[in-house]
């Protein structure tokens, strides 16, 4: 595997994106604004005036925003690793085309993740800047929350790529969003501290990757204490990313170099 080979795949991703960016760019800007307005400002006022204000210590918007940042990174990472990967393998067979050139499976996979990383950086940066505009964080802390958000997205992208590479058809993608991504979105400390969960569910939340992403983003964006040491969360997400990438390479090789 060479870096040059992977970079050519990143470049191809960028060229395809130049054709297809319109839909995704709108949601990149609009989603944070809509979520922060509806949940942060709208719902937030109720929370702050009720008992939430006392138990959170900080305005709900401030609490929520970094959680949403991590969740947006998860959505982007998982999304870019689902249908586009299925298209590459099966619908458009662009992976087959790429692998007929000197590019190897590992270069293809690393290039794919590399391009997703570029996308994640863009999405997380836009999100952080919008958080700053909403006064949910300062500019320096907002910038500090970008790397953990990107890391969260990469971990999901790697795992979801491995998952998708194993699928026969796209039904499995819809189930993954329904049974994994959306529950994670709702119960990983994005909208409320997981201490609010029933005691028996709480430990479960601690092992979800999104919770680690959320606690990192929140800690960095707000400069507040971490629930567990940030290095633990970073190591966990890095481990998932590496594991996902290795699995994805294995599965793609088996499937495409048959």
């Amino acid at each position: 595997m060479t870096v040059a080979g992977s970079l050519r795949v990143v470049e191809a991703g960028a060229r395809v994106y130049r054709r297809t960016w319109r839909g995704s760019v709108i949601s990149t800007f609009l989603n944070p604004i809509l979520y922060l307005l509806a949940m942060g400002v709208g719902l937030g006022e109720l929370v702050d005036e009720g008992t939430g204000g006392a138990s959170l210590d900080i305005p709900y918007l401030t609490f929520l925003a970094p959680g949403l940042l991590a969740a947006a990174a998860m959505q982007t990472g998982a999304g870019d690793a689902a249908y586009p990967v299925m298209a590459g393998i099966k619908w458009r067979k662009t992976y087959e085309a790429t692998l007929a050139t000197p590019v190897s499976v590992s270069e293809l996979l690393m290039g794919h993740l590399g391009w997703v990383t570029v996308r994640l950086t863009f999405v997380a940066t836009v999100f952080s800047l919008i958080m700053v505009l909403f006064d949910a964080t300062t500019i320096t802390e907002g910038l500090a929350a970008i790397p953990p958000a990107v890391l969260t997205g990469i971990a999901f992208a790697a795992m979801v790529t491995a998952y998708t590479a194993n699928l026969k058809d796209e039904l499995g993608i819809a189930s993954m969003f329904r049974f994994a991504i959306i529950p994670l979105f709702l119960f990983s400390g994005t909208f409320f501290p997981i201490e609010q969960l029933p005691d028996y569910l709480e430990p479960l939340a601690y092992i979800t990757p999104l919770w680690h992403g959320v606690q990192l983003c929140r800690g960095f964006a707000l400069g507040t204490d971490f629930t567990v040491h940030p290095l633990v969360s970073i190591a966990y997400l890095v481990a998932l990313a590496v594991l996902g990438a290795l699995l994805a390479i294995r599965i793609l090789r088996k499937r495409l170099i048959s």
Partner: protein, 308 residues
């Protein structure tokens, strides 16, 4: 070391229990157009993928451009052009961008790619489509673009897996013309096809492949001479009477083949055979006399037709 570009000995490919390629031997020399002619499922694509260094061998040896695909896959692929059986162009990109991305995979600079893209689009008769998206192109145009893409790295060897399958006759002839030009330029071609006319038109030498094995090898005319007669008389009889007639026809020609819809008489002189058929009192509904083709060779070797 042989001086052939591709050399296979006992080349074998299994998919679990299924034997797709069953110990085949062949050599492809530089500058020749070499064909694999065989019906669906013969193992042609499996063979092409092994040559293209994207499918590991189950057994046997394979040398491509003097290298071993198992260890030098990247180097081999750098010098190959591949036109797969199913188009795998990037539909989201323009014609030119498909060439650009592909060229970049080979590590070519944008400047070099731009020069070659201009030549290749001219060759593929797609100059005026340079910036249009791929999706709305006709099947023939997509095929020509795929060939242009396969030539972007000026390969030493171009692999074409069923280049004209699914195209209408006009598009096929246009494509044959392009491939013929490549041949004249000295590009080494390996072509798979289940069309005997394609094999006859394009291939200097070919192997007839069936059920993973090679049934015969040679130049198209040689194969026809070796395995068939010069001419063929095709007879159609009224529905229901073919079998009875066929039995009685035995002996009139050198060899008789009975197909579901017609009887073939193999002979060196079809007109003479026709006269003898009529003289013997047969009343076929229609007759066609023609020269032998690779289809007849295939029938002779396997007892089946190429396209069913």
């Amino acid at each position: 070391m042989t001086d052939s570009l591709v050399s296979a000995r006992g080349l074998t490919k299994h998919f679990d229990e299924l034997v797709a390629v069953d110990g085949i031997d062949f050599d492809v020399a530089e500058g020749e157009a070499f064909g694999f002619l065989g019906p669906n499922g013969a193992g042609k694509s499996s063979t092409m993928k092994m040559i293209g260094a994207v499918s590991p061998l189950t057994a046997g040896t394979l040398e491509v451009l003097g290298m071993d695909p198992a260890t030098d896959g990247t180097k081999i692929r750098a010098r190959l052009g591949v036109v797969p059986q199913d188009d795998n162009l990037d539909q989201e990109l323009s014609v030119y961008e498909n060439l650009l991305i592909y060229g970049r995979y080979f590590g070519l600079s944008k400047k070099v790619i731009d020069e070659r893209a201009a030549e290749l689009l001219d060759f593929a008769q797609l100059e005026d489509r340079r910036d249009s998206p791929v999706e709305p192109l006709s099947g023939g145009m997509k095929r020509r673009l795929t060939i242009a893409r396969g030539l972007i790295n000026t390969p030493d060897l171009l692999l074409l897996d069923e280049p004209t399958t699914g195209l209408d006759p006009q598009a096929r002839h246009l494509l044959w013309d392009r491939l013929y030009r490549l041949k004249q330029q000295g590009v080494t071609l390996i072509i798979t096809t289940h069309y005997m006319d394609e094999a006859e038109q394009l291939c200097d030498r070919l192997v007839i492949m069936d059920k993973g094995k090679i049934a015969a090898e040679g130049a198209p005319r040689d194969l026809i001479e070796r395995y068939s007669t010069r001419e063929v008389l095709e007879l159609r009889f009224p529905v229901g009477t073919q079998d009875v007639n066929a039995e009685r026809l035995d002996g009139i020609a050198k060899k008789t083949e009975v197909l579901p819809d017609r009887v073939l008489l193999y002979t060196d002189d079809a007109d003479d055979a026709h006269n003898r058929v009529l003289a013997a009192g047969f009343e076929p509904e229609s007759t066609v006399s023609r020269r032998s083709t690779l289809e007849d060779v295939f029938l002779r070797l396997t007892g089946r037709t190429l396209v069913d």
